[in-house]
């Protein structure tokens, strides 16, 4: 079970995971040693990973497309999607579809190649283009 102090630390880390323990201590009025211990415990339980979120268009990857995927061969599709370099995130979903993939492409040519590969593997999909990321990872506990 997590205490209020754990949730407070999580909220601060979610806002900026590169914050120093000293900064978090100032904001939460918890001792640094307590924050250190709690963070270690949280990293082995509820925190999956600390990650920097990117503006992909600044990396010349201007096309973001999300695919809702339905397939008869789940294993083959899963292996392809897990290993494909253009797939940023992949989820198992329900109902109506088997997987949901967030994909990043440099250009329309790369996107079309990806779609061709999905077709070759007999993977059915619906796609939608992300016009703009309004907000990401803002959920607060």
């Amino acid at each position: 079970m997590f205490k209020e102090s754990d949730l407070l630390i999580l909220n601060h880390i979610r806002k900026n995971s590169r914050q120093s323990l000293a900064d978090i201590s100032r904001k939460t009025r918890m001792p640094i040693s307590t924050i250190f211990d709690k963070l270690k415990k949280l990293e082995s339980t509820v925190i999956k990973r600390h990650v920097s979120l990117l503006n992909f268009s600044e990396l010349s990857h201007n096309i973001m497309v999300n695919f809702s995927i339905k397939t008869k061969d789940n294993e083959k599709a899963k292996v392809f999607l897990l290993n494909d370099k253009n797939v940023n995130s992949l989820y198992k979903v329900s109902p109506n579809f088997d997987f949901y993939a967030e994909c990043i492409f440099r250009n329309m040519g790369e996107l079309e190649l990806f779609k061709d590969e999905l077709a070759r593997l007999n993977i059915c999909f619906e796609d939608n283009f992300i016009v703009n990321e309004v907000k990401r990872e803002i959920f607060q506990l």
Binding site: S17, L53, N88, K92, R136
Partner: protein
Amino acid sequence: MNLKDIKIITNLRQDARMPLTTMSKKTSIPVSTIFDRLKANEQNVIVKHTSLLDFTQLGYFTRANITFKVDRENKDALKEYLIKNQSVNSVYKINNGYDFMVEGIFKQIKDMEEFIDQVKSRFKIEDTKSFFIIEDLKREAFMADPQMIGLV
């Protein structure tokens, strides 16, 4: 963006809390250079350093992607409402006949249904679609592997 920036970014994608000294040993880039490049990249390519959570361990057992098609006049108002809503984790503007896609985090399915009902009661929603996220198979993997530096 040069190779040093890409090395720094891929290491941050693996672990955003990586100390600069550790990153320096891994990349053979001096700490001072990493510091400067990080500060520069935080102005453009890096949107945010955050932590990905297992929400089920925190009592939130329902995660869903919900898409909304809204009347044109209500678009901005709906966007503002979604950004401020406490159940919303991420919001995207999309274009396949729907306007917004939302990742919502809920304690149970009933809460998700209440969220959708509230949105429908406040705004002129023309259509909505949703599905549940059962399992994360891969999260934020793009540019998270320093071995794949040739990608960019």
